[in-house]
């Protein structure tokens, strides 16, 4: 536990160093208003990273989250365009429902059909994108087709922050409570940490994974609405390639791909680290080719660091055992 805590502190320190380095080249970046903007811009990534974290904790992976987001976003956008009268909260709930359903589909395949999660979600990724094309006919839903209320919600200011930021903050708080204080939240750790032992403690491993996928899907559905209303456009390719950003944020945040290790704080900090890099690169005037290289290097550095931290712990245990036998 102390190690996990210190890792989060280290990541937070890394973000601060990064901010200082950016401020040296572009002082305006660290103005509070701009930092609030960066947080707001990262809000969707944070929500998705929290969903992905649950799945990764159970030793699974969800590659279909961005496609799920795009499909839910398209569904709510088309619904709003055809029936502008539907109240927005209802529309959001509907989006969350569709997302949960898509997530549950992943979960069922992992649980009942026992296909490896990476294969399942690689398949559903393309299926979801295909469905978007079928329902939209490849057409865009544009800003002028969406109702004003639909676009206004994530932008509506509340105590100085836009709603989008508040939704992310609420998601972080709820997720922290859920993962540390509920039996299901703890079961995610148990299933990922040692599935065999989890069975002996009476946890249904498949069912737990199914629930993780469903909840991740619900969060993707919520993000679908947020994404589409924030950028005021919905088309087949929205959030293309974003699934990798989500996983990268989790990995940077110290959530072990091998399952069982990770925390809400880590996922949030990982997403923020990514968000700071993404927002800083355009303003510090670096060639686009370098931008890609820098983003990639940041990920590898963070992962290498995390891997080292994890391995050191593992080796110590192994050495002791070898010595014993």
């Amino acid at each position: 536990m102390r190690l996990l805590k210190s890792r989060e502190i280290l990541l937070a320190a890394a973000i601060l160093v990064l901010l200082a380095a950016i401020a040296w080249r572009f002082p305006g970046f660290v103005r509070p208003a701009n930092l609030a903007n960066v947080f707001n811009d990262t809000a969707i990534l944070i929500i998705l990273a929290l969903g992905q974290m649950m799945v990764i904790l159970t030793r699974c992976i969800d590659l279909s989250m961005a496609a799920n987001l795009a499909l839910c976003g398209m569904v709510v956008a088309m619904l709003n365009a055809t029936v502008p009268g539907i109240p927005i909260p209802l529309l959001i709930l509907f989006g969350i429902g569709v997302g949960a359903l898509l997530g549950a589909f992943n979960g069922i395949l992992v649980w009942k059909v026992e296909i490896p999660p990476i294969v399942v979600t690689l398949g559903t990724l393309t299926i979801f994108r295909g469905i978007i094309f079928v329902i939209s006919g490849g057409e865009w839903v544009n800003a002028h087709q969406m109702s004003a209320a639909f676009k206004a919600l994530p932008r509506a200011p509340l105590l100085g922050l836009p709603m989008l930021s508040w939704i992310a903050l609420a998601a972080i708080a709820l997720m922290a409570l859920f993962i540390t204080r509920t039996p299901l939240g703890r079961a995610f750790y148990a299933v990922g940490g040692n599935p065999t032992a989890a069975v002996y403690t009476g946890i249904d491993v498949g069912r737990t994974r199914f629930l993780a996928f469903t909840l991740a899907g619900a969060l993707a559905g919520l993000s679908g609405y947020l994404w589409v209303s924030r950028y005021a456009v919905a088309y087949v390719d929205i959030a293309g390639g974003f699934e990798l950003d989500i996983i990268a944020a989790c990995v940077i945040g110290g959530i072990s791909i091998a399952g069982g290790i990770g925390s809400v704080g880590g996922a949030v900090l990982g997403a923020l680290f990514f968000g700071v890099v993404k927002n800083a690169l355009p303003v510090i005037d670096i060639s686009p080719f370098w931008q890609l290289a820098i983003s990639g290097s940041a990920i590898i550095l963070a992962v290498a660091f995390n891997a080292r931290a994890e391995r050191r712990q593992g080796r110590l245990i192994l050495r002791n055992r070898e010595a014993a036998t």
């Binding site: 544009n142 927002n279 303003v283 686009p288």
Partner: protein
């Protein structure tokens, strides 16, 4: 099978002779406008332009046709039936550069004038190709639109492109840079890349707004980028201060033109395109012009097109859409 085929052949020959007789009797020039697929707003608008040309010319009958989905196979069937009807000219916007070539060659062997427009066919499968515009005209128009709405004394202008490796985008940007000396008010500060992703383009536009306090215009020659930039300007509360322009589609940009985030943007006008294709097809079919490198062919009210060594030509500079005409075009494409 063979009987069916013979019957079909006989029917086709009958249709052929009948159609030929009809054509001679009416003495009309029958021009077939073959589109990528029926029911697409862009092509319906091109049809409108073709009808306008037909009315102007008098003795022209326009046959507007195409497959129900955008496949080369569907177009081949359509073209085969047009060959059977012995039309005078076929003007096609192709679903595939090469797949249509054998069929179109057969049409030319029968003396039918074949041109492609909008989306081209390989040179051996057509007499000429009409491009909606050219790199040079696009680049010039982008800078002009930005310059037109700059405040007195000019200001900073930035380009938001798709990806740094996109050939079309880079050609257009190169052309923009060439005409900059003609627009002293335009101070091009940087080019950034949004990779045709809505979120990255939005973020890059936000970065531009932050980095260049004197920024007055963003040129985005990409349909994803222009929409994202307009949204970023709206969210930053910079409407009226920063003008977003470039290349976009009226249906996608209507909201941003109304809000004032974009004063104007450009893209080809499908009505003019259909009109020009019909005019060219008529001139070639009636022998008033020949499609050879260097030839100048009349396109009525749109002007003339000059063919290059590949027998390709550009129709005109892109058409500018603004608050005055956006409502008319936003439902078309």
């Amino acid at each position: 099978m063979s009987i069916a085929r013979k019957l079909l052949a006989a029917a086709a020959t009958a249709a052929f002779t009948l159609a030929a007789a009809q054509a001679q009797a009416q003495d009309n020039v029958r021009i077939a406008l073959v589109v990528k697929a029926l029911g697409i707003g862009f092509f319906e608008a091109a049809h409108e332009g073709a009808q306008e040309a037909a009315k102007e010319l008098g003795n022209v009958e326009v046959i507007y046709t195409g497959p129900t989905d955008t496949t080369a196979e569907g177009q081949i069937e359509v073209i085969n039936s047009l060959i059977a009807q012995n039309v005078d000219a076929i003007a096609v916007s192709a679903n595939d550069t090469d797949a249509l070539v054998p069929t179109l060659k057969r049409a030319m062997d029968r003396g039918i004038t074949v041109i492609s427009w909008d989306s081209g066919v390989a040179p051996e499968g057509r007499q000429m190709h009409l491009n909606p515009s050219s790199n040079q005209l696009i680049g010039e128009m982008c800078v002009k639109m930005a310059a037109d709405h700059l405040p007195e004394g000019g200001g900073d202008v930035a380009i938001l492109s798709a990806s740094a490796t996109h050939t079309n985008q880079n050609n257009w940007i190169a052309e923009m840079k060439k005409v900059l000396p003609d627009y002293p008010g335009v101070n091009l500060v940087t080019t950034v890349y949004g990779d045709d992703l809505a979120d990255k383009s939005y973020r890059e536009a936000q970065g531009l707004i932050q980095s260049y306090p004197n920024l007055k215009a963003i040129i985005a020659p990409t349909s994803v980028g222009i929409v994202a930039a307009a949204q970023a300007v709206t969210d930053a509360g910079k409407i009226g201060e920063i003008n977003v322009t470039g290349l976009g589609l009226p249906s996608e940009m209507a909201g941003h033109v109304k809000s004032g985030a974009s004063k104007s943007f450009a893209i080809w006008n499908p009505i003019d395109l259909g009109y020009a294709a019909t005019m060219i097809a008529y001139n070639l079919a009636t022998g008033q012009a020949t499609a050879e490198p260097g030839a100048e062919i009349d396109m009525g009210r749109v002007g003339t097109v000059t063919l290059d060594e590949n027998r390709e030509g550009a129709m005109a500079e892109p058409f500018v859409y603004d608050a005055s005409n956006i409502d008319r075009f936003k439902d078309i494409f």
